[in-house]
């Protein structure tokens, strides 16, 4: 029998909270019979929703708080003044052992700052990072950092590689993931020096997974590697550029099908297949970004998602717990420090 898992939910985070949080939890409850919830939010708004879903209510512990972190609140302010916010109390539950992970669709910066403050960075990890997974020609891949660290050094990149590797094994179920460092390709331009330093370390140290070397922007969607490692500035730009391009293509396609009667008829015939395509690249399928490198599982849902997307973010938190991602990261980090403090230290220095 599977062990019971409790996921803490920030009921007030997200554009359509608490509605999508309660509805999302209800979808997750149907999918995941061994999961229980600890839901934090305003009783007046959340309880009427819970009352309508008896089965969900039966597996949910509700905690009331009036305080909510605003979507536009500065993280430092949220950290100082949001001690009783629904977000903070949900994170606290993970720290106290009352929950195995937290999911919030609220303010990303605040969730990151609070998670880091409450859960703490794992020993040996230089910096936590945000990771998520995406569709490729080859299946799926993981990319990090998506925005937690604007400027990085070689040590950060190596840590991200280890954490991304653990994420791919836990979420994508790939036993021996390949990973590459995002760089530019021309002969003349070989990219930042710290990326070369990171590459030298990854080539030398024995870590889980297979190091592919450098990759370029078009390798992301091609699925050349299972894990794309980059700094938070580049990762954030690449992620949003890909999203923007997908939207552009989608809109162009919509216009194309409307451009003639024949094309409209063609659209009607191809509609079931096109629906499958939409499902395949549905951003809700890929909802759930993880803050890697913390001593606890904190998953960020997209703020604009719906119930289905939120349920998927809960899935991610549950999978990461079942797959014990934190131990995987700890083992990788331990292997790195064992290796770099002995024979490979000169690589780091040189």
């Amino acid at each position: 029998m599977k062990q019971k898992i409790t996921i803490a939910l920030d009921a007030m985070g997200g554009d359509a909270a608490p509605k999508i949080v309660v509805a999302g939890a209800n979808i997750a409850r149907e999918r995941l019979p061994h999961v229980e919830f600890l839901m934090v939010g305003r009783a007046a708004e959340v309880e009427p929703l819970l009352d309508k879903k008896e089965k969900l209510k039966a597996v949910t512990t509700f905690i009331h708080t009036d305080d909510v972190v605003r979507a536009d609140e500065r993280p430092a302010i949220a950290l100082r003044s949001g001690r009783n916010s629904s977000m903070r109390l949900a994170i606290n539950a993970v720290k106290d052992g009352r929950a195995h992970g937290v999911v919030s669709a609220g303010n990303t910066g605040a969730l990151m700052a609070m998670s880091k403050f409450v859960l703490k960075t794992l020993p040996g990890v230089s910096r936590p990072a945000i990771a998520s997974y995406f569709p490729t020609l080859n299946g799926e891949m993981v990319m990090l950092d998506l925005g937690a660290n604007i400027s990085c050094d070689a040590e950060n990149i190596v840590d991200f590689a280890i954490m991304g590797n653990a994420f791919a094994r836990s979420i994508l179920g790939i036993a021996d993931p390949s990973y590459g460092i995002l760089n530019v390709g021309s002969e003349e331009i070989k990219g930042h020096e710290y990326l070369h330093d990171a590459s030298a370390i990854l080539r030398t140290v024995k870590l889980p997974g297979r190091f592919h070397g450098f990759i370029e922007g078009d390798d992301i969607a091609k699925g050349t590697v299972d894990v794309v490692v980059t700094d938070g500035f580049t990762g954030n730009v690449a992620l949003k550029t890909a999203e923007g391009t997908a939207k552009l293509f989608n809109e162009f396609l919509r216009q194309t099908f409307r451009s003639s009667t024949l094309a409209s008829v063609g659209y009607v015939l191809a509609r079931p297949a096109l629906r499958m395509l939409r499902k395949r690249i549905d951003p809700r399928r890929y909802n759930g970004a993880m803050f890697l490198g913390l001593n606890g599982i904190a998953v960020k849902s997209h703020g604009g998602t719906d119930a289905l997307g939120f349920a998927n973010a809960i899935d991610v938190a549950v999978d990461l717990n079942r797959q014990d991602i934190i131990s995987k990261i700890e083992l990788g980090i331990a292997a790195l420090h064992r290796d770099t403090t002995s024979d490979s230290a000169q690589v780091v220095a040189g």
Copy 2:
């Protein structure tokens, strides 16, 4: 009557050279009656092709050289040992006033190094950059730097904004282009400090165009601004990420239309419209990246392009000459230096 323009062509650059160069020049000749060519390459390979195209031969001056820059040659090596290469002699023709611009589909790094060495950077320009233009939801936009400068400072970014502006006016025909600096969006993470310094300068100094401020990755395809300004590392990754995403979408669409008989019939009906779509986002339409900031027009065609794509790169070189992009850049740079040496100097310093 329009003035005659001569474009120097590196006949040996590109995967399918000299065939696509001669065929591309022939397409351009039909489109552009006032353009003549100065073609440099191996006589034994180029002349038989020219002999088959009498009208093209009549407007082409051919210069023989045996030497060719290899596609994988390191730029520094090409610069030293390629003094008699087809690429170098074509660039020399611009320097000597025998041609109004040069087009090559050869080695990017070598073309950049040679163009910079021969044509020189314009006075007041901190660093040359590579720019190109792309389709958006709104029409088209210009992006730079696409890979010439891996690490940038505020001064570079400001110069790129001025040069991108001149490029958009010359190529896209936008009278008063808007421009924005590519950055990351979350509240917590505000991006690199030098981007904020550049933004402060652009807000203060009176330059051509409208400064929009910061934009994010998804704004690129959305067409939020006419000119996207970024460092060469981020620009290169964003460009290739967008290309990769477009290819992914295309392949998914192909698979979708093959997934059922109904979908295949739908495809057949929608085919004429889908062909229009393909034309709309045809990379050959957007072939022709310019090295901005040099005292001469040097256009890089994609190495894998065909004759139509190469003809489009010639179009770009001709347009940039007709629109006198170099004077536009000079005026912008002069305005910057006039302003920053007087009342706005404190912004640069602070």
